[in-house]
């Protein structure tokens, strides 16, 4: 029999933490700091809107672009919150989570052989999506000494004649880094000079702690060459509803819409209705969750530094990204032994690229009680390490 697996699928590396996942599932009493989703449940008024829509029999397809009322709300919301201007009828598509938005954005603009610059450490799906589209992912390291921001010199070093796209994700998963307006301006000059397109995944935008989120498309010269991606999963604790959106200038948006209509048709209607309720009535609940994440970040990062795992203060998202260099263990060794010996699950940095090695991604989207217990266990684990 032939090998039926496509070369494209074969080219994608398997998950770097499968064995950890399987191991954790066999254990009791695991405190998981390995989950990239809020521990809150969706605010009840948002759930109610979704439930009511099902009770009313609203279970059909929507238009490919998504529900008009949701797009109208979003257009208003993006303007009010980030100063972003996107037309609800021509420059926006509602997608099944930001994951789909990312996929169709990449496929809409990448041709075989095009290079996509991806910042590193980086969320695990960017490079595979580029590969699947026939493109070549080119990592651009973001260094700890720069608080994991993207610096112009690092970007310049990786730009070639084949470079077409720069993928940004700030606030960043896994580092929690954010880019301030001046940081982005410096990057914008390079992007314009080299005629690049930006794909900006801003799913953690609402979880920005020390000031407001700056959307790249609000920087002079970038709107016309930026695809903005965002969604409801993180800010409104709606991961399972699978609602995201893509905003871009009309020709790019139309190209992405064509792919969306063939592969997804539309995002789930009850999710879209719930998302609209989140925008209209979910602000207070969202603000409470953001305050709570910030409190947890403060406690957790303080504790990590105290027990000897140096960690910069992440200005966004809900991840701490401590270094394990001082322990003499690699990130994989640390994560595996910690899980086996103390039943704390963390993600080894290397799965987020070479620039993330010797670090751990620890999600503090767990209760304060569990965070405290996790610190006690990590401290005990470290005290048992040979000097």
């Amino acid at each position: 029999m032939r090998n039926f697996i496509s070369k494209a699928a074969e080219a994608i590396p398997p998950s770097g933490i499968r064995k950890f996942f399987d191991l954790a599932l066999t254990m009791d009493d695991v405190i998981s700091l390995g989950v990239g989703e809020p521990d809150f449940t969706t605010p009840w008024n948002v759930c109610e809107a979704g439930i009511y829509s099902i009770e009313q029999g609203t279970t059909s397809y929507t238009s490919n672009r998504g529900l008009q009322e949701l797009r109208d709300s979003l257009s208003e919301y993006l303007k009010d919150h980030y100063g972003l201007h996107y037309d609800a009828d021509r420059e926006m598509v509602i997608t099944s989570g930001v994951s789909e938005a990312l996929d169709i954005a990449i496929r809409a603009v990448i041709d075989p052989g095009d290079e996509a610059l991806v910042t590193e450490p980086i969320y695990v799906s960017y490079a595979p999506c580029v590969t699947l589209a026939g493109g070549i992912p080119v990592p651009v390291p973001c260094r700890e000494k720069d608080q994991f921001r993207l610096m112009p010199d690092a970007l310049m070093e990786k730009i070639s004649r084949k470079s077409k796209v720069l993928i940004l994700n700030f606030p960043n998963n896994p580092t929690g880094a954010v880019m301030k307006r001046d940081d982005l301006k410096a990057i914008a000059d390079i992007v314009v000079d080299h005629d690049l397109l930006v794909i900006s995944d801003e799913v953690y935008a609402e979880l920005t702690y020390g000031g407001s989120h700056v959307a790249p498309a609000t920087i002079d010269g970038l709107w016309e060459r930026t695809i903005t991606l965002n969604g409801f999963s993180k800010a409104y604790a709606m991961t399972g509803w699978r609602i995201g959106y893509l905003c871009a200038p009309e020709p790019i948006c139309d190209a992405a819409l064509k792919i969306h209509q063939y592969v997804m048709l539309c995002a789930p209607v009850m999710g879209q209705i719930a998302a609209n309720a989140a925008i209209r009535n979910g602000e207070d609940e969202k603000d409470k969750m953001v305050t709570e994440y910030r409190v947890r970040r403060n406690l957790f990062v303080h504790d990590l530094n105290r027990i000897g795992l140096p960690c910069h203060v992440p200005e966004g998202a809900f991840y701490a990204f401590p270094s394990v260099t001082s322990t003499g263990l690699s990130d994989f060794e640390f994560a595996e032994q910690l899980l086996k010996e103390e039943r704390v699950a963390v993600v080894p940095g290397t799965v987020f690229g070479d620039a993330a090695k010797d670090h751990l991604r620890c999600a503090y989207a767990v209760s304060r009680k569990d965070l405290k217990e996790a610190v006690i266990r990590i401290e005990r684990f470290m005290s048992n390490l040979p000097n």
């Binding site: 933490i17 950890f20 996942f21 954790a24 599932l25 695991v30 998981s32 390995g34 989950v35 990239g36 989703e37 521990d39 449940t41 969320y123 695990v124 799906s125 998963n173 305050t291 409190v295 403060n298 406690l299 303080h302 699950a345 993600v347 799965v351």
Partner: protein, 163 residues
Amino acid sequence: MDEKDHLLLQILEENSRVSVDELSVMTEISARDVECRIAALEEARIIRNYSAVIDWERAGNGEVWGIIELKVNPERDFGYDRIAERISKFKQVRSLRLITGTYDFQLLVTGKNMQEVARFVSEHIAPMDRIRETATHIVMKNYKENGNCLCGHEGTERIPYSF
């Protein structure tokens, strides 16, 4: 009152046993500042008390809760305040509110059993001057108290890893 005061109040309302050092880390202000702010909030009687939320049903002491509604004739010059003060002095009265609608006051009253609650209302509250009418409701089950769900549903189980 600023943002930091509000944050302190939110944290303490949820768990008043958090230490000053922890509060300092959580709120990004110095421990000394935390102490001063809490003292000021206590002084201003914004923080009234530090207490625990207890599920008495689980504690098994069989306490009965009654919600009592009262129609009251207000008093010249004092309105409802003096009669409210008198009612609130009974230790059986756990909370007392002036409300809109058919009734004027709503009380939460506790007793060892239903008879005790009924006796308290008929012997101490109903005969008071200015009380025109009472309605007594016995609480059958508590589902939520002070923002805390008592139903014991812990939410769904999460997978150990996701990106």
